[in-house]
């Protein structure tokens, strides 16, 4: 087994364990911390894939900004241990079966198509960050400008939603 394969399996195990822990934890703050483990493991996988800019953005935006927002809201609302009714506990077993079937079908289908993909040998000359910036500001410049508008609308919407109504 080569070194990249070992690193892949360690990070993949970390991600899957984090995702299972997200499901098993009763308190939402523990689930949030498990999700941060998944995101850091995925950032490691992106580095393994040679996507260093995406890895950095994953850590900064997902692990930093979005998860801090989640933890902040959990603490703001003083969220307690979640409660399950007997019906929602019963739904767990058939739900698990269906999800295993779904993941199996999806994995089998796209793994078959991935096997047909001819892996292009990486030249290693062109930096992926340089290529991404060229693509964003040339080919995808209109979608890029639209995302700034989307963020503006989202910030306005969040402010309007969360403000206290004046009496």
């Amino acid at each position: 087994m080569t070194a990249p394969l070992v690193v892949f399996f360690v990070l993949a195990a970390l991600a899957v364990i984090g995702a299972i822990s997200l499901i098993l934890q009763k308190h939402p703050i523990h689930s949030a911390l498990s999700l941060i483990v998944v995101m850091v493991a995925l950032a490691g996988l992106y580095l393994l894939l040679g996507a260093e800019f995406v890895a950095a953005v994953q850590i900064i935006v997902y692990g930093g900004a979005i998860m801090v927002l989640f933890v902040f809201v959990i603490m703001l609302l003083n969220a307690g241990v979640e409660e399950h009714t007997s019906i929602s506990k019963m739904a767990g077993a058939p739900g698990l079966l269906l999800v295993v079937a779904l993941a199996g079908v999806v994995a089998a289908t796209i793994a078959k198509s991935a096997a047909g993909v001819q892996a292009v040998p990486q030249t290693g000359e062109i930096s992926s960050t340089l290529g991404i910036s060229n693509m964003i500001f040339k080919d995808f410049v209109y979608p890029f400008e639209l995302t700034s508008f989307l963020i503006l609308v989202a910030v306005l919407g969040a402010t309007v939603l969360a403000q206290r109504e004046k009496t």
């Binding site: 689930s31 609302l77 979640e82 739904a91 767990g92 993941a103 994995a107 796209i110 991935a114």
Partner: protein, 100 residues
Amino acid sequence: MVPTSYYVVLSAILFGLGVFAFIFKRNIITIFMSIELMLNAVNLAFVAFSQALGKLDGQVFVLFVIVVAAAEAAVGLGIIILIARNRETLNVERVDLLKL
């Protein structure tokens, strides 16, 4: 060199765990976190195929997905705060105003 199919299978497993968390969890914040988990799983498939095909389109798409996820988190958490304030619960089973 790790085969692309390994990444794709890991992505499918993470997506399945996200779907299960979405239907099994009862806390609205945890349900929202499982949506983020599903988005992350899709991002992994994007980057894996981007590397396999030697094109950067997939990585650019991942950046757009991350931006949309950030906007979605801001609005979604605003809605959660509103629900918590009006219904005084975070359990989705107690948010049943439209139920007969």
